[in-house]
């Protein structure tokens, strides 16, 4: 029987199986490997290594991808409430 281990994924703890790889985890989470960056204990992994890197207890994994952005902070649409016709 596979041993259950505890890992951190995007800041949340998660049960994973000992020996399970990063690639397997991504597939289980239904995440396309070609669209993410994965950081394992602060080391950015090469996409080609996802299926080779197995996880060990306490590993901290960050999975990131591109989202809408253009400016540093999400202001949401409340900015529309500030409508200055002229500022002179």
């Amino acid at each position: 029987m596979e041993e259950a281990i505890q890992i951190q994924v995007n800041g949340e703890s998660r049960v994973w199986r000992s020996g399970g790889t990063v690639g397997e985890l991504l597939r289980e989470l239904n995440i396309r490997a070609d669209r993410v960056a994965v950081e394992l204990n602060l080391e950015i992994l090469d996409r080609n290594d996802f299926d080779r890197r197995s996880l060990t207890p306490g590993d901290r994994l960050e999975i990131l991808s591109f989202i809408g952005g253009g400016s540093p902070k999400d202001h949401n649409r409340s900015i529309r409430s500030i409508r200055w016709a002229t500022i002179v």
């Binding site: 989470l29 591109f66 253009g70 400016s71 902070k73 900015i79 200055w84």
Partner: protein
Amino acid sequence: MGDDRLSIAGREFKSRLWVGTGKYKDFVETQKAIEASGADVVTVAVRRVNITDRSKENLLDYIDPKRYTILPNTAGCYTVEDAVRYARLARAAGVSDLVKLEVIGDERTLFPDTAGLIEAAKILIKEGFVVLPYTNDDPIVAKKLVDLGCPAVMPLAAPIGSGLGIRNPYNLRIIMETVHVPIIVDAGVGTASDAALAMEYGADAVLMNTAIAGAQDPIAMAEAMKYAVHAGRLAFKAGRIPRKLYATASSPIEGML
């Protein structure tokens, strides 16, 4: 203006309007606005994937990376370390070495921390990144960034999301005369005339997000910005008449009764 392409670090861009992808209602609106803007460079941020709700759609389902140049930013980074980390993650998540480098100095103004920006640019350029720095309208900093190897600089017009337009046209002009790389005016544009002005001053491109996404009709504003940037560019190339205090008749006096 078919051959009036913008060239940066060996890449060619047909549009001189670059757009951000934040603050839209949804991905459909994002897609329509970008389409209407005619932009071929779109900025994106790098953030944690939502692993609890995998039904959430991906931005790249709507913005085809084959059609658009995806320009990841380091938005939200307040330290050199964070900016460098996010740039590396962006490269790992994407396909190119392009990064819009932001090192933010202050939450209220979102002005760049130019000392941090220079430091981060130095590190990333050494690692082979094509660094497009979001910087203040400071000619000295712009020159330092170019000397480090930035193939373009992106000075702000006004604080991000402020819509105040170009606050210091004279500094922008001095930047344009100081450095000989493309100048992309980034942030602070409020409406179409601001974008046209930036191009008339001689900017090579304008990047904006809030001015479009925050408009009452983002798709119509995206189209307005497309024409504004185009008109401003044409006017700049055409060469405006000098300003004079008094009138000069347009119709000849000769032949009058």
